[in-house]
């Protein structure tokens, strides 16, 4: 089960994971796998990207948590949500870590009373056929773990709560 990376394109959330690395790179985008081949063009700094048999000439540049790219004659700006930012967004007031899509709990790494640092993995969940690490949005102490392994949850469910006065 691949680890999911979270992206936004035109305000919609997407996940990209790695399904296989050999013999060819296979990515998993929103639960669908695609064979990918990336080569560098000789005469410039564009990249040739082949996805599911289609070829694209790509120019790209990363600026903070955004990737600006030119692909197939159009420009796109894709937001990348690193785990801590994502957790902060979902924590709503920093106290509760919520699920932004339905899924199932794979593993619970922390228990009530545990001190945590921002970025520490609290839980591993599975959503859209991908594993996602749920990390601490900030330093603090776990107050309650609301779920256990194999338990399913709905979008918006509180997974874990941090103590208020951390």
């Amino acid at each position: 089960m691949p680890q999911a990376f979270r992206f936004t394109l035109a305000d919609d959330a997407h996940t990209v994971g790695i399904h296989a690395r050999r013999p060819a790179l296979v990515v998993d985008v929103d639960g669908v796998t695609h064979v990918v081949r990336e080569t560098r063009e000789n005469d410039g700094d564009a990249v040739l990207l082949e996805v599911a048999g289609r070829s694209y000439r790509v120019w790209r540049t990363r600026e903070g948590n955004r990737v600006h790219l030119h692909l197939g004659g159009r420009s796109f700006s894709v937001g990348y949500e690193d785990a801590i930012t994502q957790a902060r967004l979902e924590a709503g007031g920093d106290a509760e870590v919520r699920a932004d899509m339905p899924g199932v709990v794979v593993a619970v790494h922390r228990a009530a009373g545990d001190p945590v640092s921002a970025g520490d993995t609290l839980l591993v969940i599975e959503s859209m056929k991908m594993q996602i690490n749920v990390v601490a949005p900030r330093d603090g102490v776990v107050e309650t773990v609301h779920v256990e392994a194999t338990q399913t949850f709905d979008k918006g469910a509180v997974l874990i709560a941090l103590a208020e006065d951390a």
């Binding site: 790695i18 990515v27 695609h34 996805v51 790509v58 790209r60 540049t61």
Partner: protein
């Protein structure tokens, strides 16, 4: 010929003028604000002089300082470009008072045409049709009743205005008083001149303009027309020459009217007479721009001429370089204004930096730019950073060349309208030349970005993911050296 030139401008137009001046062997002098010290017009010129000013735009508007630099550096002439001081009669007069040649019309002609009310009166006297209108002179009630008598819809404009500021369309008598008061306040604020006027608003109007060149002694030639109907927020974004679907007899009438007007003014140098063309083929004088226009390249492309060279020859007193009979259009040209703005947010100007810039070099494609990779795009200046032109034997070929170039044009790091321009050109109504100034509003629903299919969306997301270090590391096992990644700019 003149031996040296100071260019009182920046950006693409300064570069444009510089290229011709250099080709003709003139010593070139650029002026710039500190914020532009690495800009291409500074590096392209033989000499560059920094202007002292806090705000960047203030530097290029500082008539006294620019004239002083021109004298110090021994410039034979001053080219104002467009915008900034280009239509400032006081600047033209100051240049001439300093004993230098102003590459443009006489100061009194700039002053005349700069006042929309006087320009209209002048057009009427020249026998050029104008739309029925009424000027507000003090009494709001009298203005409202006189304007209502013209009939609705009405267009309210500032007498001293330009660029769409202070303009509004009034469709009902009840709105008129309030809108007139607002327009007066806006005109006061933008132009320090509260006079406004109301004229009949033509539904689905086309914007047709005629390029003219005069010698200052009553001899004027026209260089045919351009159509600039595709506008957003009252500002042009796509122009073409010749106008598509224009009856030859009507074309001749419009061009003749422009020549009559310019000849009556003893017009000197390059200018543009703008008209509104109604669906019933009636045309009305809009205004005269007493300078080189942004969209002059499309005229150059269909005529095979260099308008800046013509300007310099006229300024040097060599007279008109061509007779009317020698000017023959061939083919079709389309210009797309490349602007840093967000078409999805009502074309709001965008800031950022040109982190990756790749300008395509294709046959039949011309790009006039003033931007280099890495350059910051700030709110200090106009959002237009360049002009992409396509030329072909037919209009369709010009469209295809523009589309090919727009697709290959890479500008990353700042929102821009490249994709949007492509969608406009590719729209069936544009291809059919069903143009009017409300085009982008009428077709707004069709001009949003098309949805991606699943594979294309996956490609976009995968390309983005592969720009993220953690993802790359996971994909390829070991982190690759920076240089091997490719397509990477920070």
């Amino acid at each position: 010929m003149l031996d040296s030139i100071l260019i009182a401008n920046r950006g693409e137009i300064a570069c444009r003028v510089l290229r011709t001046a250099r080709r003709l062997g003139l010593r070139t002098i650029a002026v710039y604000h500190h914020a532009d010290r690495h800009a291409p017009h500074v590096t392209l010129a033989d000499e560059a002089v920094e202007l002292e000013a806090d705000a960047p735009t203030a530097a290029y508007l500082d008539s006294g300082q620019i004239v002083a630099v021109a004298r110090e550096r021994g410039a034979a002439c001053v080219h104002p470009g467009y915008g900034f001081l280009a239509e400032n009669a006081g600047f033209a007069a100051a240049v001439e008072a300093a004993g230098l040649t102003f590459v443009g019309p006489q100061p009194e002609v700039i002053r005349l045409m700069g006042d929309k009310v006087h320009a209209r009166e002048f057009a009427v006297a020249a026998g050029v049709p104008v739309a029925p209108s009424v000027l507000q002179e003090g009494d709001l009630d009298a203005f409202v009743s006189a304007a209502s008598a013209i009939g609705f819809p009405l267009l309210i404009k500032a007498a001293a205005g330009g660029g769409g500021k202070g303009m509004s369309i009034v469709r009902a008598a009840g709105e008129l008083a309030a809108r007139a008061a607002t327009a007066t306040a806006e005109a006061e604020r933008y132009f320090a001149d509260g006079r406004v006027y109301a004229e009949r608003y033509i539904e689905r109007p086309r914007h047709i303009e005629v390029q003219v060149l005069g010698d200052g002694h009553g001899n004027v030639v026209h260089l045919f027309e351009r159509e600039c109907s595709v506008q957003r927020r009252f500002q042009k974004i796509i122009e073409e020459a010749p106008a598509a679907r224009l009856d030859p007899a009507l074309r001749e009438q419009i061009c003749a009217a422009a020549v009559d007007l310019a000849a009556r003014a003893n017009y000197r140098n390059a200018g543009t007479v703008e008209f509104i063309l109604a669906p019933d083929d009636a045309f009305y004088f809009l205004e005269m721009n007493t300078r080189l226009q942004v969209e002059h390249p499309v005229t150059e492309l269909i005529l095979g001429v260099d308008l800046v060279e013509a300007q310099l020859r006229v300024a040097a007193g060599d007279g008109l370089p061509w007779t009317q009979d020698a000017i023959r259009p061939r083919g079709h040209a389309i210009e797309c204004r490349v602007c840093c703005e967000d078409p999805a947010a009502d074309f709001r100007p965008a800031t950022g930096s040109a982190r990756i810039l790749r300008v395509p070099e294709l046959p039949g494609v011309r790009f006039d730019g003033g931007l280099v990779e890495g350059q910051a795009i700030t709110a200090a200046f106009d959002s237009m950073v360049g002009k992409l032109c396509g030329y072909g034997t037919e209009r369709d070929a010009a469209i295809e060349r523009c589309l090919a170039a727009l697709g290959e044009f890479v500008l990353l790091g700042v929102d821009n309208n490249l994709d949007y321009l492509g969608r406009v050109l590719d729209h069936p109504a544009f291809r059919a030349a069903e143009l009017h100034t409300g085009f982008v509003v009428e077709h707004a629903a069709d001009l949003v970005p098309p949805a991606l299919d699943d594979v294309d969306r996956a490609a976009v997301l995968t390309a983005a993911a592969l720009a993220v270090d953690d993802f790359r590391e996971l994909a390829y096992g070991t982190p690759e050296p920076h240089a091997a990644i490719g397509g990477w700019r920070n």
